[in-house]
Symmetry: C2
Subunit: 187 residues, 2 copies
DNA sequence: TTTGCTATTGAACTTATTGTACGTTAATGA
DNA sequence: TCATTAACGTACAATAAGTTCAATAGCAAA
């Protein structure tokens, strides 16, 4: 890929992230993005069809990265297969979030958090689904599996939101313990 | 309140709901709203400052109604205090949703669901918080109470979303049973 | 019914934003 | 070096937001 393209793409992403941390998605104009990114109007539309398109691309980059890196770290373990091993998938995710690469936390706490949440949850679902099938579960066979899946990823997302809202006072390990306490009894 | 005001207000609400079921919030224009509602441009701005203001008013009306009506039905009971009483708060809520007063379901399944979700969850939180304090719980005292609160209301919202996404195949009673199965073990 | 008040109307208008067109400039990689 | 192509910037049409104002119509009380 052309060096110029990479440069503009990244400039636009950065500008967009910066603006998203400041104001709500629908109040951000293309004009502001290109002003902040310091690129021409035509250039923007050469890269992205619309603002929605830009958001989609940003989300794919952000969550694709965090999920695949978590997968790498834990591909040898199940969801919680090593008992209370510190290297649980969820703990890894929380640690990644705390390190806040790419300002995911800022985006999740922005006014447009809902937009990211859905992408986040979708990514999580794929991640958990993979690990879930290899899991030996209790006899909750009367509860549908996709209900449980949704419950787990949904609860996790809501917990992260709660974490951010309460200013991330807890450590990832603490949070992981809370999460186990409400999830493990039903696995 | 003047009969004319009521009429206009309701016409705008109806038009807005109809449009929200069809398309995403940020793609709806004021022009479309006033065309659908058959009111003048000036009239719209006499009632609502912005489109966001309209949304807020709609949410307050919708969720305020459903929550207070659930409160009325269950003010004599705790969260689940009557064992597996059919008149649990959650079952009531689900039944209300299924009856689909005011098209809440359509709004929650629209592309703009995120906007309603936060209102929904906020309302839920207040509702549950009230009932929660009167509840005799197990010895999960090492898990913060507001974490549990958030977990319950968050899970409920995510469950409703899952319900809608899977076309509401389950009955409210079934769903309530699923929900108990994942929530009661931690209470 | 009359009267005063107020909500609604419609049209015009300013400003802001979107998305496109096109000729020019400058960086890139072979 | 040279052909390619990304980026620039200016201009432009189309659409939308929000305001102003005079005119109209509906309401509630006398």
């Amino acid at each position: 890929m052309d060096r110029r393209q990479k440069k503009t793409r990244s400039a636009i992403f950065n500008a967009f992230s910066k603006l998203l941390a400041e104001k709500s998605y629908n109040k951000i104009t293309v004009q502001e993005i290109i002003d902040t990114a310091n690129v021409g109007r035509t250039t923007f539309y050469a890269h992205f069809e619309t603002k929605d398109d830009l958001l989609k691309a940003l989300c794919e980059e952000l969550f694709g990265h965090i999920i695949s890196s978590t997968l790498d770290c834990t591909h040898t373990h199940g969801l919680y297969s090593s008992g209370n091993a510190p290297e649980s998938v969820f703990c890894h995710l929380l640690q990644h979030l705390q390190e806040n690469e790419n300002n995911i936390i800022e985006l999740l706490s922005s006014e447009s958090s809902e937009l990211f949440l859905r992408y986040f949850k979708d990514s999580l679902n794929k991640l958990i689904e993979n690990q879930f099938v290899n899991q030996n579960r209790k006899n909750n066979t009367d509860i549908p599996q996709d209900f449980l899946l949704n419950h787990i990823s949904g609860s996790f997302v809501e917990m992260v939101l709660w974490w951010i809202k309460s200013r991330m006072k807890q450590t990832p390990e603490e949070l992981d313990r809370y999460f186990r306490a409400v999830i493990e009894p039903i696995l």
